[in-house]
């Protein structure tokens, strides 16, 4: 790329802007084409890479992802409920290169924030001007004694990263006898998709109602209540599955014995025929190694909410699940954050000021059966004084589920996958 910045500027308004900005603010970027490296081609990473290129073809973008395909967590509960084929969750990455993104199939093993280099498992060293970390989350399985052994024996799974565990859970539900007990143990927030466990209980109940009506679902919930879409879920359960789902709040799972199929919480022991434990989560080890997992509890990454740049290591941005914030950890929020980060990175590379007050519009649809859903819809605006995203009034969850929301929710997935992947 030639050094002349004006080549970047497309509209006359933007050209004028450059003329009136103080010299320091309009400082020249690197002589060569700036290079942004994005780690992880999930909802956050793939969206960020795509929008960087869409909005500024003058930027070189490399997207690093070890998996050959994308597998969607949203809709994976439909597979658990038995009304969707797993294959439908698997999407190709083949459209992303058309945006001029260089895709590298590898796993990032280390980040050198000082030298601005990422190291990969395949032995590559890739230099960046700016780095975007979007590796999702990892489970703190050590917080559930016996989980690792149970998982190795195939007796417990989280099924909270869509993949083989999603199918394993489905198979075990199919094999469970009528009258069996299905345990879902879920953590308190913050964590990925807080409404996911309640959606899962709903789809399992939908399946049991038709095929194993004497069965029971026991939710051992680390949270104080069905806080996400609570009234909606509770009304749907009462209407569709009376007596089938027992929700026990404030009951975090801390142990599991796979020989007796017993889950131990802080208060009780509960035996189950099929056991699904979703452990506490944190930003992946990679974030820690890069020096950006920097909150007091060593769990999440603190960022500047206008740029998503780490508060501890310059030139490293973090989007999606790993972030510490009051925003939900969802595909829709990750996708929104990725666009804000992409726009900010472009402004920064051009020596301009990023949007000081970004806005996030987010909706999450949860199914309650194979033809009904309820949703939560919120708009969040960044408040630069309080330094948090503020929920705008009158958004929120609906109190009842409906068939029309199921229809809209289904299409939400199609558009979300397309917005993320091509």
């Amino acid at each position: 790329m030639p050094i002349d910045r004006r080549d970047f500027l497309t509209s006359s308004a933007a050209a004028l802007t450059a003329a009136v900005l103080p010299r320091t603010a309009a400082a020249k970027p690197h002589a060569a084409q700036p290079h942004v490296v994005v780690v992880g081609a999930g909802f956050g990473g793939a969206t960020c890479a795509k929008y960087l290129r869409l909005w500024d073809p003058g930027i070189q973008v490399t997207l690093i992802e070890p998996n050959p395909h994308f597998t969607s967590c949203p809709m994976s509960n439909w597979v658990v409920g038995g009304f969707l084929d797993f294959d439908y969750l698997v999407k190709r990455y083949d459209k992303l290169p058309k945006y001029g993104i260089r895709m590298v199939r590898d796993r990032v093993t280390g980040v050198d924030g000082e030298k601005r280099l990422v190291h990969t498992q395949g032995g590559e060293k890739i230099a960046y001007d700016r780095l975007v970390l979007a590796p999702g989350m990892e489970f703190m399985t050590e917080k559930v004694e016996g989980y690792a052994e149970g998982a190795k024996a195939g007796k417990v799974m989280h099924a909270f990263k869509a993949g083989p565990e999603t199918l394993l859970l489905r198979k075990q539900l199919e094999a469970m006898p009528d009258g069996g007990v299905f345990i879902i143990a879920s953590p308190p927030p913050p964590g990925r998709c807080v409404s996911g466990p309640y959606e899962r209980a709903s789809v399992a109940a939908h399946y049991f109602k038709q095929h194993k009506p004497k069965s029971k679902i026991i939710m051992l919930d680390g949270h104080i209540d069905v806080v996400s879409k609570g009234p909606m879920f509770k009304a749907a359960w009462k209407e569709l599955y009376p007596g089938m789902i027992e929700h026990r709040p404030n009951n975090l799972a801390v142990g599991f014995d796979h020989r007796t199929m017993t889950v131990r919480t802080e208060f009780e022991d509960q035996k189950g025929d099929v056991v699904n434990i979703i452990p506490l989560q944190r930003a992946p080890q990679l974030c820690k190694d890069a020096g950006v997992r920097n909150d007091a509890l060593d769990r999440w990454c603190r960022v500047d909410f206008t740029t998503y740049e780490s508060t501890s290591v310059p030139n490293i941005h973090v989007v999606g699940d790993p972030i510490m914030s009051n925003m939900p950890k969802s595909a829709h929020v990750s996708n929104n954050q990725a666009k804000i980060a992409a726009a900010a990175i472009i402004e920064l590379l051009h020596g301009r000021q990023p949007d000081p007050v970004p806005v996030i519009g987010s909706t999450s649809y949860s199914v309650t059966s194979d033809h009904t859903s309820g949703s939560i819809a919120v708009v969040m605006r960044y408040d630069p004084v309080k330094k948090v995203y503020q929920r705008q009034p009158e958004g929120g969850a609906n109190k009842t589920h409906s068939e029309i929301e199921f229809e809209y929710g289904r299409s939400w997935h199609e558009n979300m996958w397309a917005d993320t992947l091509g």
Binding site: S11, A13, A14, L16, T17, A19, V20, L21, Y51, H332, N335, N336, K339, I340, A343, Q353, D355, P356, V357, P358, V359, I360, G361, T363, S375, A377, V378, V379, R381, D383, P384, V385, Q392, P393, E394, G395, G396, S402, I404, E405, E407, Y408, R410, S411, W412, H413, E414, N415, M416, A418, D419
Partner: protein
């Protein structure tokens, strides 16, 4: 909200009028990009029940967004969103999406269904044109190549008593349609039209 406007004002004043023009456009652009996750890139949807919005008229877009904001129009989702936006932002969004081309997503259907749909939409021609693509005024949306499932759901909203859809004439016309099967056929007919 107040604070947000104040701060934005401060930033804009500091950087001058040209920056203001750029920033205002960039801001709308940024807001519009968040709609892509449901309505598709450039407002062209790929989901059967989610409407394409790129290329609808500015007046129609602004009108429905305001109705949602003020709770005057039924919605499953949009009402809860637009309460969080200022009128200026909604006007900017309407301008942004109306400046994009209308890209019909042509959906095929059985010849018998199409013939049924053509018949069922005869009375609609005066306002929507023969294919739904020649609206007679700026408050009438494009229907050609809109998603069939979406059109069907909308028609059911206009037909159902107690569902707030303020446009009286459109409501009357939808209610005069016969069976629900006519509604589905009409929706499929419009969805199949390239122009």
């Amino acid at each position: 909200m107040k604070r947000y406007t104040l701060l934005a004002g401060f930033v804009l004043a500091a950087l001058g009028a040209a920056w203001a023009a750029h920033a205002a456009d960039a801001k709308i652009e940024a807001l519009a990009r968040s709609c892509n996750s449901c309505h598709g890139l450039n407002g062209v949807s790929v989901g059967a029940s989610m409407p394409s919005i790129g290329g609808l008229s500015e007046s129609y877009l602004y009108n429905v967004m305001l109705q949602w904001k003020h709770g005057e129009r039924y919605s499953a989702t949009m009402g809860r969103h637009f309460k969080g936006y200022s009128d200026e932002e909604l006007a900017g969004l309407a301008k942004h999406f109306s400046a994009l081309p209308w890209v019909p997503v042509v959906q095929s259907a059985d010849a018998r269904v199409l013939a049924h749909g053509k018949e069922a939409t005869e009375r609609c021609e005066t306002c929507h044109g023969a294919t739904g693509g020649q609206p007679d005024d700026k408050d009438t949306p494009m229907l050609n190549g809109q998603w069939a499932k979406y059109l069907e759901l909308e028609l059911m909203k206009y037909r159902t008593e107690g569902v707030d859809m303020p446009h009286k004439k459109m409501r009357k016309n939808a209610q005069k349609m016969g069976e629900d099967a006519d509604v589905a056929a009409a929706a499929k007919y419009y969805a199949a039209q390239p122009k």
